[in-house]
Point group: C2
Chain length 350, copies 2
DNA sequence: GGTGTAATTTAAAACGTTGTAAATTTCCGA
DNA sequence: TCGGAAATTTACAACGTTTTAAATTACACC
């Protein structure tokens, strides 16, 4: 077919955009090219001449062509989907949402969609992971709250499935992760309490089975030992305990002899609960005791007197996880895809 | 092929589960049936004999067959996906997450997946809706914070695309929605303030462009007029204002003459900000002034003295939206799919 | 034992894309 | 002017499912 004939064919076919949405076929008819060529041109394959490449791109843009994800997925086996495991414990203070926004930012300009796989109410998180691997529901996975020998991580490693965790593990095989330096947080927070003159510090730790329990404890103990102050650790409760339980515990403990006068609170709600529990017994923040808390939202800046805080930037963590996961999917080595985010002092001005 | 031959064929083929995951073909080979028959049997089509139906189901379960979503989607045009538009304003107190958990519960036993379409940082939410409609990215849509003549709703109605909003609109064409009775909330909250003896009430309203601004205002004004107390409305700020701004406003206003002594707070963070602003000026909650706040989490029960609250059950709203959307997708009439959830007094015991 | 009808099962064609292998065109140097 | 290699384009076959229409089998009745 000569260039002139082609051009005629184009005029003829481009009368009305058909009922359904445009496909490669539509463009093929409009340009007089073969479907394969159009596909190639759009994919910027090397063997397509620059002129047709341009022409195809122009037509595609004009009619608002977007490839059918289902067909692509069927053919290539790639889903263009990244799945986030939503943990029920993340709901209180928008942890999930913060991370999600960061993730969204990372995936913004890519063709990836974000799908949320909530905790199966009955089964464990491992089932969800298994389901996703087995049925190829996503190209990559993101989740948080890792355990030292997290079964989800083990499963993913065994299957060579791309993922990024929020939190480290202790597997010898490296994997991509983003973590917050909770050692630094606890160390710094506790040091600050001591600097304020507090002489018996305490901390509300994450559940023992989670990896960051260790780091947190270690940071706390390091500060304690360096300063030689006394301390105690409440092992009847943890950060996942309902706020009421934390409040009740603090209230009870502060009524007993020799109560702590410095609290390291790695959670906003637990900080609030602590303040409430203390004030129930007539203790005043900054006067009789102090708190240094982890801050992930603007919540704590709303209460009086101001609680001293150390910031953890969750949207940044989300964005980092997104970027690392994309690189992991692209084939980069897992051991090069790790990231430890330091605590930031003071809430960044927006 | 005789039954015996079939049975032999089955034995022969079931030696090893092939490399890839099982497909209809796998089952067809194992049972000696045609692919079509297997598809029908799994779909419980009427013309399949009970015996083969059972046999196919058994084999499918045995080898853990799950239909390929991409192929189904390509063939049928249905995506089996429900998309949630995530609004940036929803991040503070896990609104998004709460709703999401409810939604997840509603979709639990269905084949639907939940995909999150975050606000496109640049474009408006309308672009996202348009994108989803045009490219058939989902079978149904869920979003919140409706305006009286919400352009998203208009677009969806024009295209006959199934959706459920959180919040009402004023279009004459009915559409599915779940809403919280904010009139009842504001009316009840304000009445309580008045019952406590407060004589000048005020309210922090949602942004004027959102539908529930009207309901909230109406409820507030009704209580005010019935009791004949005085009131004022801060129109320099709204519920979306940063907490610091609310706090500063309250602080400034309470230092001026004739300040309000009763606050209706339709948001948890704004309630906190109000308390802080007031206490900055030496006003004590329950003594010099009162607050009745909307409660969507256990946050407010953590501060002292207890703020009186009226509950809004967001997970329940999410679940309701999910169920309504499924029915809408199934073809039910939109006008039958509306739901107004009443305020509940006191936090339900879990 | 045939015949018609109902009950089951089946082959073949799509859905829109990409990969393989082959066909066509273009271009260069002899 | 002609081979032949390089450049460009193409046809066809998948991917796994559902749908349409047709084929086969079973069943009842005369």
């Amino acid at each position: 077919m000569s260039p002139i004939e082609k051009s005629v064919a184009r005029e003829t076919a481009s009368n009305i955009s058909r009922a359904g949405k445009p496909t490669l076929k539509t463009i093929a008819e409009m340009t007089g090219l073969a479907i394969t060529t159009v596909s190639r041109a759009l994919g910027n394959a090397p063997q397509i001449s620059e002129s047709t490449r341009r022409r195809v791109h122009a037509v595609a843009a004009e009619i608002g062509y977007l490839p059918d994800r289902a067909a692509q997925r069927l053919k290539t086996g790639r889903t263009n989907v990244i799945s986030v495991l939503l943990d029920p414990h993340e709901e209180i203070l928008g942890f999930g949402t913060s991370i999600m926004h960061g993730l969204a930012r990372a995936l913004q300009a890519t063709s990836y969609h974000l799908i949320v796989t909530p905790n199966f109410l009955d089964g464990s998180n491992v089932d969800a992971v298994n389901y996703i691997i087995r049925n190829g529901m996503a190209d990559g996975l993101i989740f948080s709250r890792t355990e030292p020998f997290d079964p989800r991580v083990r499963l993913l490693l065994e299957n060579g499935f791309p993922f990024v965790t929020h939190g480290r593990t202790e597997f010898s095989t490296p994997h991509a992760f983003v973590d917050y330096d909770n050692f630094a947080f606890a160390y710094e927070a506790t040091k600050r309490l001591i600097a304020k003159g507090r002489r018996k510090v305490t901390i509300i730790l994450p559940p023992r089975r989670l990896t960051f329990h260790q780091y947190m404890l270690h940071g706390f103990m390091t500060a304690v030992r360096e300063a030689g102050v006394s301390y105690e650790i409440a092992d009847a409760l943890d950060l996942d305990s309902p706020a009421d339980m934390i409040r009740d515990y603090v209230r009870r403990r502060s009524a007993e002899p020799d109560p702590p006068d410095g609290y390291t609170c790695p959670g906003e709600v637990s900080a609030l609960a602590t303040i409430t529990g203390m004030s129930d017994n007539g203790f005043t923040l900054c006067a009789e005791y102090d708190i240094v808390a982890k801050q992930t939202s603007r919540l704590l800046s709303q209460i009086q007197p101001k609680v001293e805080t150390i910031y953890e930037d969750l949207p940044a963590a989300g964005e980092a996880m997104g970027r690392l996961l994309l690189r992991r999917i692209a084939g980069e080595n897992a051991e090069d895809l790790t990231m430890l985010l330091g605590p930031q002092f003071g809430f960044p001005t927006p």
